[in-house]
């Protein structure tokens, strides 16, 4: 496992660009307990990203990649949106699906992997924006949860269609005016975490990415639960600073301002009884942690 899979033929080692040599020597493939603290310490699995300067999505992407429990055995499924601009720079197997199809593609992929590699654990992680998850792909998202497909769905929620100019999305807050939604959002933000719970997800978290240790815990537990129990869902607030009129240094503060008590991104975690029992067996000490806001 791990780095055994990514050896460079010795004849070509000296001519390989340095980023590939570093990936082989310092990448965290196969490292026990990998996490967000590896960012800046080890070779990251994202080379350079093509997002806007200061984009919170870029740091969210780095945290997610740093926190995958087994990146060498993970396949990520993306969809159209800002996230699809980053996937070409990622050193984890990934598939770009048609807009909204990501959970359908992931369903087939997970099943195929379980047939192809019956003795190995292969993680499938969907990472898509709110347009792909909640609007265009809502059918595929929900159907995969109804069917209890064993993979994790991560939604980067920036509350609008960012890279097409700021159209209204289902996750936009009511009344918000965007460049391409001048009349303001007409209805409430779709409560997808609530829908996820009632649709069969065993582990649901809604949060911002302002606290990396909390992101690490959520990503890790969601993927572990998806392996053994059933579908999991994580909704991360990654504001589009361009479309909400912020400067590049203001993304972190925007997330902090949105996660306070009774704010729309106040931390919420739901763990089903089955998932909780499983997590207790995986890591009993860590589960006796400080109480988060748990909703059931």
């Amino acid at each position: 496992m791990s780095k055994e899979r990514i050896k460079i033929n010795q004849e070509f080692y000296d001519i390989m660009p340095v980023e590939y040599q570093e990936l082989v020597e310092e990448g965290t493939y196969g490292k026990e307990g990998r996490g967000w603290k590896d960012v800046g310490e080890s070779k990251e699995l994202i080379e350079e990203h093509s997002l806007c300067a200061g984009c919170p999505e870029s740091i969210a992407f780095r945290y997610v990649l740093a926190c995958l429990p087994a990146p060498e055995d993970t396949i990520m499924v993306g969809s159209t949106g800002c996230t699809s601009l980053v996937f070409p720079h990622v050193a984890v197997h990934n598939i770009h699906s048609l807009f909204g199809n990501q959970n359908a593609v992931a369903s087939g992929l997970k099943r195929a992997l379980s047939y192809r590699f019956p003795d190995k654990v292969k993680d499938v992680v969907v990472l898509a924006g709110d347009g792909a998850t909640v609007d265009i792909g809502l059918d595929m998202t929900l159907q995969s949860w109804f069917r209890q497909e064993k993979f994790t769905t991560i939604c980067f929620d920036n509350e609008l269609y960012a890279n097409t100019g700021g159209q209204s999305s289902g996750l936009m807050q009511k009344g918000f005016v965007a460049k391409m939604a001048p009349a303001g959002k007409k209805f409430d933000k779709v409560p997808l975490p609530e829908i996820a719970k009632s649709s069969g997800c065993h582990y649901v978290v809604k949060m911002t990415v302002s606290k990396p240790n909390r992101v690490e815990k959520a990503i890790r537990e969601a993927i572990l639960v998806a392996r053994e129990v059933g579908p999991t869902y994580i909704q991360l607030y990654t504001p589009c600073i361009l479309e909400i009129g912020k400067q590049m240094m203001e993304g972190l503060q925007e997330m902090r301002d949105s996660e306070g008590p009774n704010k729309r991104f106040e931390f919420e975690e739901y763990v089903s009884d089955e998932a909780r029992a499983y997590l207790d067996t995986v890591n009993p000490k860590k589960r006796k942690r400080k109480k988060a806001i748990v909703t059931k």
């Binding site: 460079i8 004849e11 070509f12 001519i15 080379e47 720079h89």
Partner: protein
Amino acid sequence: MSNYSVLKGPEAFLPPAAACEGVILPDPGQGLITGSVAHEDLVMEEAARQFLSAKVPTIFPGPLVLWNWNETAAKKATAIKRLYDVLKAHNSSALHIPMPDYRPKYPKINPEIEINPNHPNLTIWHNKIDVCMFVGVHCHMANLSLKIIRGGTDCYTIAMCAQAGHEDAMLTFRDATPEKINKLADTVERVKASGNFAVNNGSA
């Protein structure tokens, strides 16, 4: 039978696909020279002449041979390195520049040390490469690169393909194995020893 010749460019911003012009892939034991089917031994000799007469002969090893996937990949790497050493002994300007993967890198690649299938012309131009050989590149990415190079540069392209060959290369092998790559290195040495390696390249 097509009369279309796959010649050095620059042919056009978007050159026609040679397959659409009637160029067909070779059968086992054969190759293509400017789109015409020829016996593989003749193709070997022509490739050797092109390499030996080039100012900057270059090998572009792709992911299938750069990375140690299996025993065959390792043997191919050894054979390719030997071919490079033969070229380097003849011409100190010879290069081998890797195509580690196919990511459209941002903001841009360093054309001095790597080639990317989405803009291979940058590496050709930067290093003034006039003859190149692709080996170990997945076919769809090789096709993309070959068309871009033919469209925008005057570089002579050779494809050492492990599958059925490439119509859009000026010269193509098929069913590449470590033995076949070694045979090409042997052929280069033999043609070099003969001293007769002048070529007459047309242009589009």
